[in-house]
Amino acid sequence: MTEDPLDFGDPADLERLRTAFRAWLAEHPLPERLPDEPLPVFLHRWHRLLHSGGWVGLDVPEVYGGRGLTSLHQVAVSDELGARGAPGVPRVGYLAHALLEFASEDQRRRLLPRMLAGDDVWCQGFSEPGAGSDLAGMSTYAARHDDGHYTVRGQKLWTSYAQYSDRCLLLARTDRTARPHASVTAFALPLDRPGVTVRPLRAANGDDEFCELFLDDVRLEESERIGAEGDGWALAMTTVSYERNALDTGHLSKYGLLVERLRRTAHERRGELPDGLLSEIGRCVVDYEVLLAHARRRIAERLAGQPAGPESSVDKLLMTRAEQRLYATALKVFPQEVHGPGGDVFAQYLYSRAASVYGGTSQIQRNIIAQRVLRLTDGADR
């Protein structure tokens, strides 16, 4: 695939979609975030508004509530929002892809339209206190009963915004004897079920995005299982593959705005900048443009029929490189962010330090590349 010419261009109808979206945006101004309104509540209002115009789940088939277009169309919407400094598209794409691939037809018809519409807000219950990088080592256990239902017991960690969510894509072990990768099963857990307790954690930047999720003998029906028993690992890998793609999560437009801000500031303060800072800004431009080109290449490959695979670990490492260098450079350009109470840039800088941890640490990504892309013979780090 990498050795044949690729089409980095936009499909012909993309400009029409952008025009239509711009016209819609002109008529539907961004809602104001209310004083004291928690960010996820505000984002949820935004999600519903976007969905009312048909701008969520563009790459999901129409029968499941989407528009039946391509990921490139969804990216174009993300671009347009980023260019206006608006919040990005709701981050449902990677969960929707997991359901599209693994859920039953009945589940897809039931769950996906509500997910896209924001009727159900979803979170992800993968990591555990004892299973971070070693995700397959999870101990949350779903015991199956004779009539087919399950009882789940365990604890999940880093479930983003669980306190504002309705459902959780939950991974649990369903077989204590089989090898870890073959014994993980996925469920769609309603968070109002008896036995579920959600407790937010305060992150280093002060946000309460991350939560702990306690599961004390929670009953799950067979119809709430996604895929077969043992499919959970493959589902998790699909999910994180899509999650790792910088474009799927709408990071790019955010970087683009900050890069342009750094360039303008450098231009205005020409001669006052410390030695070498101009080159560092140039390096951030390169990182950003490379990421843009790389994301376009991945989309072109996907449109040409190549599914998301272990190469997404390369994407994640490139995204991490761009993000961490960009915010570190931004602190040099705006030193008042450090020598003061710290503003938005500082908060985002702190968050950028998490880029090499969430969605699989940079070291795990390197293991995946060595094992599954380079096919190096097995070491101890599978």
């Binding site: 690729l6 101009l278 140039g282 431009v285 443009e289 790389h294 490189r321």
Partner: protein, 323 residues
């Protein structure tokens, strides 16, 4: 060109590279160089970009340059086959009077030559009897070849050159296109070289055993190779995209994309080759091993046309500002 046609051209180039790639620095003697160049000239690939409506897209040429760059080859594929013919094409009517396949003349530090440059070098000029010089104002001159000018890149033939009579002038958009094209083609060779040396070192890490197991099973080595892979993919994406921009976007956008690609490869391709050499260990420090041929190639190539130290401040200028 049609995809089948491109596949044929690439096969042609591949069988050429398989026959003429050298196994070590000692095989790069004058007789071998000249024979390899004659074989390459015989393929007729200099016609790919020479005609008013080019036979091959820039992306196709970039892929071919990458393919050539993967192997230790002494042939002038860049200078005489892909670069100078594009300058001839851009000259239009004025280019018709240029015979043969000249090489490209650059500043002695391999930068794009300034209009007042008195001394030039004919870069990548194996088998050439003349050169063309496109200066930073877009004036195209003939250049006379001088004596050999040895370079750290042992695979590359370089000779001194003196600027001669003016042949024609490129319009401002054509000049931007030219600079973007030259950057993309030179960068593609770096990408090919870095990709190949990393691939060779991955193969070596599978075979070479220490402490009773393949060194590729040690996490320290695996992570080195994973990082080198990320760097190679970053260069690849940026360079392919820049090549596509030359085929589809206005020259200004293409030039930015090409500068980005060159800046990325200028550091990443060198870093990836360092990693490959590190994985090979002691063997890659010998004269016989091909690793130093790759290192020399990417090291000099990283500075060619525009070194990262020059590109980064330029790229820090806001979109639409000067340059």
């Amino acid at each position: 060109m049609e995809s089948e046609e491109f596949a044929l051209v690439r096969e042609l180039l591949r069988s050429f590279t398989a026959r003429h790639r050298i196994g070590s620095a000692d095989e790069a003697g004058p007789a071998a160089r000249s024979a390899a160049q004659q074989a390459l000239d015989g393929l007729g690939l200099a016609e790919l970009r020479r005609t008013a409506k080019p036979v091959a897209t820039v992306q196709e040429c970039a892929l071919l340059a990458e393919e050539h760059g993967r192997h230790p080859l002494t042939t002038s594929f860049l200078g005489r086959t892909l670069l100078a013919p594009e300058a001839v094409r851009l000259l239009g009517e004025a280019g018709r009077e240029i015979d043969g396949t000249p090489a490209l003349a650059l500043a002695p530090d391999l930068g794009f030559p300034r209009p007042d440059a008195a001394a030039l070098v004919a870069w990548d000029c194996e088998g050439a009897d003349s050169a063309l010089c496109v200066d930073t104002e877009g004036t195209v001159r003939r250049a006379e070849l001088g004596p050999p000018a040895p370079t750290a890149d042992l695979l590359r033939t370089v000779r001194g050159a003196r600027p001669g009579p003016v042949v024609g002038r490129l319009t401002a958009p054509a000049l931007r296109h030219w600079q973007a094209y030259a950057l993309v083609i030179v960068t593609s060779e770096l990408v090919g070289a870095a990709r190949e040396l990393v691939a060779l070192s991955v193969g070596y890490a599978r075979e070479r055993r220490q402490y009773g197991r393949p060194i590729g099973s040690f996490q320290a080595v695996r992570h080195l190779l994973a990082d080198a892979t990320v760097l190679v993919e970053a260069c690849t994406s940026a360079t392919r995209y820049a090549a596509w921009c030359l085929d589809h976007e206005p020259p200004g956008r293409a030039l930015t994309a090409a500068r980005v690609a060159k800046a990325e490869a200028g550091s990443s391709a060198v870093e990836a080759v360092y990693t490959g050499m590190q994985v090979f260990g002691g063997i890659a420090q010998t004269w016989e091993h091909v690793a130093h041929l790759y290192l020399r190639r990417v090291l000099v190539g990283a500075t060619a046309l525009a070194p990262p130290g020059e590109l980064l401040p330029t790229l820090a200028e806001p979109e639409g500002a000067t340059r």
